[in-house]
Amino acid sequence: MNLTHFWILIASLFLGQLLLLLVLAWRKQQSNKREAAIDRQYHLLTDSFSSYTMDPSDERFIEELTASPYHLVVLERLLNHYVSVTKAGADSPAVSRLSEEFLSKRYMKLLKRGNWAMRMNTLYFIEDFRMESLVPQLKEKLAKSSRLDQETQQLIRTLASLNETVAIDALAKYPDAPARLYIDVFKRLDELTKLDELDAALKDENTNQTLKHSAISYIGMAGMTLFLPRVEAELQHPEMEMRIQALKAILHLQYMNSPSALAPFFQSTAWPERMFAAQIAGKLQLSRYKETLGELLGDPVWWVRYSSAEALTQFSEGDIVLTHLAENHSDRYARDMANQWKTSLLGSEQ
C-alpha cells in the first residue's frame, strides 16, 4: 500500500463518518421534536386526566387523548406517573380501564416481538397497571421460558402482582432460584393467597429449603405475628441456616412467646447465632440475659461485641451497665466497645 491508498482509506472513513454524523444529527433533531411534542401533550392532558381519575364518567380526557398523535406514549407516562405517586394508584379502576382499553393490544404485540428492553418495560408496566387481561399471554410466555434470566424473573414478579400462584411453581423449577425472588413473589400476592402460600411453605413436607427460608424471612420483614409460633418452632431445626432465618424473623417481629428458647444461642459455636441472640435480647429487653450480654461484650467476634453493647443500650439502666463495663470488663476490646456505646447514649440524651 502506498500513500495514495492511505489517502483514499482515510478520506473514505472520514466521509463515512460525516454521513453517519448527518444521519445522527437528523435523528436527534427528529427525536428532540417528538419528545417536545409528547412533553407538551403530556402537560396539556394532565388536568383532564386528574379529573378522569376522580370521576371516570368525565369523557373529556378520552376525547382529548384520542385526538393526540402520541396518545399511547402520553397515556403510558400519565398512568406511570399516577401509580408511582399515589398509594392506591395501581388498584384504581381508572388506571385499569384506560390501560386495558388503550394499551393491552400494544403490550400483547410487544411481549411477542419487541426487543429485550421493550419487553422488560412492558412487563414493568403490566405490573404497575395490574393488567389482568394479559395473564394468559404471560403464562404462555412463562411456560416457554427455560432459563431464569432477567426477563423470566420479571415475568414471575409480574404474574405474582396479578395474584397468580403459578409464579411460585415456576420458581420451584429452578433449584438455584434465589430467596430474594421468592420474597418478591410473596410481597406481591394478595393477603389471602399470601397466607395460604406461606402456610404451605412452612409445612414439614415442603422439601424446598429456599422457599422455606424465604417464607420465614418474609414473615419477619412483613411483621406477620400470626406465624410466630411456627417461626419459634424453627429455632430447634437441625439446619443452621434455618435457625438463623428464624432468629432474624423474631428480631423483626420484636416478640417471643418463650424467651427461654433463646438461651442456647448465646453459647452457639456459630457467631451469627450469638449475634442475633444478643440483638433479640436487646430489642425485646430481656433482662434475664443482661449478664450474658456483658459476657458477650468480650466475644472474639467484633459483630457479637458490637451487637451486645448495642443491646445493652436498650435497657433503661443501660448507660450505668456500660459505664461499669467500660471500666471493669476484663477484656480490652470489650471496654472499648462499651465506651463507644456509652458515649452514643450520652449523645442521644442531649
Binding site: M1, N2, L3, F6, W7, L9, I10, L13, F14, Q17, L20, L21, L24, A25, K28, Q29, N32, N80, S84, N115, W116, A117, M118, M120, N121, Y124, F125, D128, Q150, Q153, R157, P178, A179, R180, I183, D184, M221, W302, R305, Y306, Y333, D336, M337, N339, Q340, T343, S344, G347
Partner: protein, 465 residues
C-alpha cells in the same frame, strides 16, 4: 540511520493500525450490550430495590485532601441519593485547608470515641466525628497517608458489607448507587465490584448538588477530555467488562464487596494508581481461587466529576495516571502472559501494557518520524505521509467515532449542536491535544522511578452553579 528510522516507521504504522482495529473490535463487542439496555426504563428497573429490605446497605467513602471547596456539596449530593440504607464516611487525609472544619460546621458534627476494627493498617486516626443532624454521616480526621490510606481507614470504620468509593469532587446521580448495586443484588453476590460510567460536569448546570441540565463547556481542553472519556469508557471498558477482564474501575466511583477487598489486603499505599491496582489484585485473587465471581462496568452515567481546566493540572493528572498504570503492571508482572490467570494474564494485561502504557511511546516515535521526515529527510516523505495519515486515523478518527457511538447508543448530550461541537473538536485531537497527552504519558513512565505516592494537585473551583 535512515534504515533504522524506516524500520521504526513500519513498526509504528503497524502498531497504530493494530491498536485502531483492536479499539473497533472492542466496541463491536460492547455495542450489543449498550444497545440492548438503552431503551430500558431505568426508573422501573431499579424502583423495586428502593423498597426492598434485601437491598444490601452500603457505606459511602469520600476520601478528601484539601477539598474544602467541594466536600460539602459532594456530601449533600450523597444525602439526596435514593437508597434504602447507607452511611457516609468522609476521610480527611491530613488536609492543610479547612476540609474538616467545613464538614463539622455544616453537619454539626461532634467527636465520638469509636471502636474501629483494624482490618488494614493505616496512618494514625486523630479523631472520629459524627453528625448530630444525620447520625449516619461520619468524619475521620487522620494523619496524611495518601488516598489509598484514607480509603483503607474508611473501610475499617465502615459497618456495611459493601462500600462505595467516591472522589471528594464528584456528584452522583440520584439513582447512581441503586444502578451500581443492581447487578450485585441480581447476581446474588457473584459480582463483587461495579464501576460506573463517569462523566465530566464542567459546562452542565448543577444546582442543589444535582445535574439539572447536561451541557458542554467552552474550554477546548475540557471538551477534549469529554471526547477522551467517551473513547475510554464506551470503547474500552464496556468490552473488557463484558469479557470479565476489566482492569480499571474509576477512582471517582466504584462499589466494592468489603470482605473481598479486605481479603485482598485493601488499597495499596505504594502506588498512585490505587484504584486500578486494587482491581487487578481482586482479579488475581479470584483467578487464584478459581472463583466465578465477576467485576462489572455499567454504561449508564452515574457520576459527574470536575475535569481540570488548566494544562498544568491536566499534565500532573495524566502523569499520575500513567505512573499508576505502570506501577500496577509492574507489581503484577507475574500475571503477564501467564495462562494460570486466564484471559486476564493472556489478553488484558498485554493489552494494557502495549496499548494503554506503551502506546504513548509508539505515538511519540510516530510524531518524531513525521516531523523528522517532513523537515529533516529522516525518512522518505512518502513514509512520513503515511505515518501522518495513520496518526490522524488513530488520534482523530477513532475519537470522532467514539462521539458518534455515544450518540448512537446513550445520546446523553441533548442538543444537535453538542454533537457537532464534540465531533469537530474530536477531529482536531491528533493535531494538538494528543501530542500533549503523548508527551505527558511518556513523562509519566519516567516519573514511576522518581517520586513517592501523593494526592493529585487538582485546583477545585467547585462544580455547583
Amino acid at each position: 540511520m535512515q534504515e533504522t528510522a524506516l524500520i521504526l516507521s513500519y513498526i509504528v504504522i503497524a502498531y497504530m493500525l493494530f491498536s485502531s482495529l483492536s479499539y473497533l473490535g472492542l466496541f463491536a463487542l460492547a455495542y450489543g450490550k449498550v444497545k440492548k439496555e438503552n431503551k430500558l426504563d431505568k426508573r422501573e428497573s431499579t424502583e423495586d430495590f428502593l423498597r426492598n429490605q434485601s437491598t444490601y446497605p452500603v457505606s459511602i467513602l469520600v476520601p478528601a485532601y484539601n477539598e474544602e471547596v467541594g466536600v460539602v456539596s459532594t456530601v449533600r449530593s450523597l444525602l439526596a441519593l435514593e437508597y434504602p440504607e447507607k452511611e457516609i464516611i468522609v476521610i480527611d487525609d491530613g488536609s492543610k485547608d479547612s476540609t474538616s472544619l467545613r464538614m463539622i460546621e455544616e453537619f454539626k458534627m461532634k467527636e465520638i470515641p469509636f471502636a474501629v476494627r483494624t482490618h488494614i493498617e493505616t496512618a494514625e486516626i486523630e479523631a472520629i466525628y459524627q453528625s448530630s443532624i444525620f447520625p449516619y454521616i461520619r468524619l475521620i480526621k487522620k494523619a496524611n497517608g495518601g488516598k489509598a490510606d484514607a480509603l483503607n481507614a474508611g473501610v475499617n470504620l465502615s459497618s456495611f458489607p459493601y462500600f462505595c468509593a467516591i472522589d471528594g469532587d464528584s456528584i452522583l446521580e440520584n439513582d447512581g448507587l441503586l444502578k451500581c448495586m443492581k447487578p450485585i443484588i441480581e447476581s446474588d453476590g457473584q459480582i463483587i465490584v461495579t464501576g460506573g460510567s463517569v462523566r465530566i460536569a464542567n459546562g452542565s448546570t448543577i444546582s442543589r448538588s444535582k445535574v439539572e441540565l447536561v451541557g458542554l463547556p467552552k474550554s477546548p481542553i475540557v471538551l477534549m477530555q469529554i471526547v477522551e472519556y467517551f473513547r475510554a469508557f464506551l470503547i474500552g471498558r464496556l468490552a473488557l467488562s463484558h469479557l470479565n477482564i476489566l482492569l480499571i474501575v474509576s477512582g471517582a466511583f466504584g462499589v466494592f464487596n468489603k470482605e473481598r477487598v479486605i481479603q485482598a489486603g485493601g488499597y495499596n499505599k505504594n502506588t498512585v494508581g490505587e484504584d486500578m491496582e486494587l482491581v487487578v489484585r481482586l482479579h488475581r485473587l479470584l483467578r487464584e481461587e478459581k472463583s466465578k465471581q465477576r467485576i462489572e462496568y455499567i454504561p449508564d452515567p452515574v457520576c459527574w466529576t470536575e475535569a481540570p481546566e488548566s494544562l498544568e493540572v491536566l499534565r500532573s493528572q495524566r502523569i499520575r495516571w500513567q505512573r499508576g498504570l505502570f506501577e500496577t503492571l509492574w507489581t503484577h508482572r507475574k500475571m503477564m502472559l501467564n495462562p494460570k490467570y486466564g484471559s486476564i494474564g493472556l489478553f488484558s494485561m498485554p493489552y494494557f501494557l502495549f496499548v494503554e502504557l506503551l502506546g504513548a511511546v509508539f505515538e511519540f516515535i510516530g510524531y518524531f518520524i513525521i516531523f523528522g521526515g517532513f523537515f529533516f529527510s529522516l525518512v522518505d516523505p512518502q513514509v512520513a505521509g503515511v505515518m501522518f495519515l495513520v496518526t490522524v486515523f488513530y488520534g482523530s478518527l477513532i475519537s470522532a467515532l467514539a462521539v458518534l457511538l455515544e450518540e448512537l447508543t446513550l445520546h446523553k448530550y441533548p442538543k444537535v449542536s453538542h454533537l457537532m461541537r464534540l465531533y469537530f473538536w474530536a477531529l482536531t485531537e491528533a493535531f494538538w491535544y494528543r501530542p500533549l497527552m503523548v508527551l505527558w504519558r511518556v513523562k509519566g513512565i519516567f516519573a514511576t522511578f522518581q517520586k513517592k505516592a501523593h494526592w493529585g494537585d487538582m485546583k477545585r473551583k467547585g462544580i455547583s452553579t
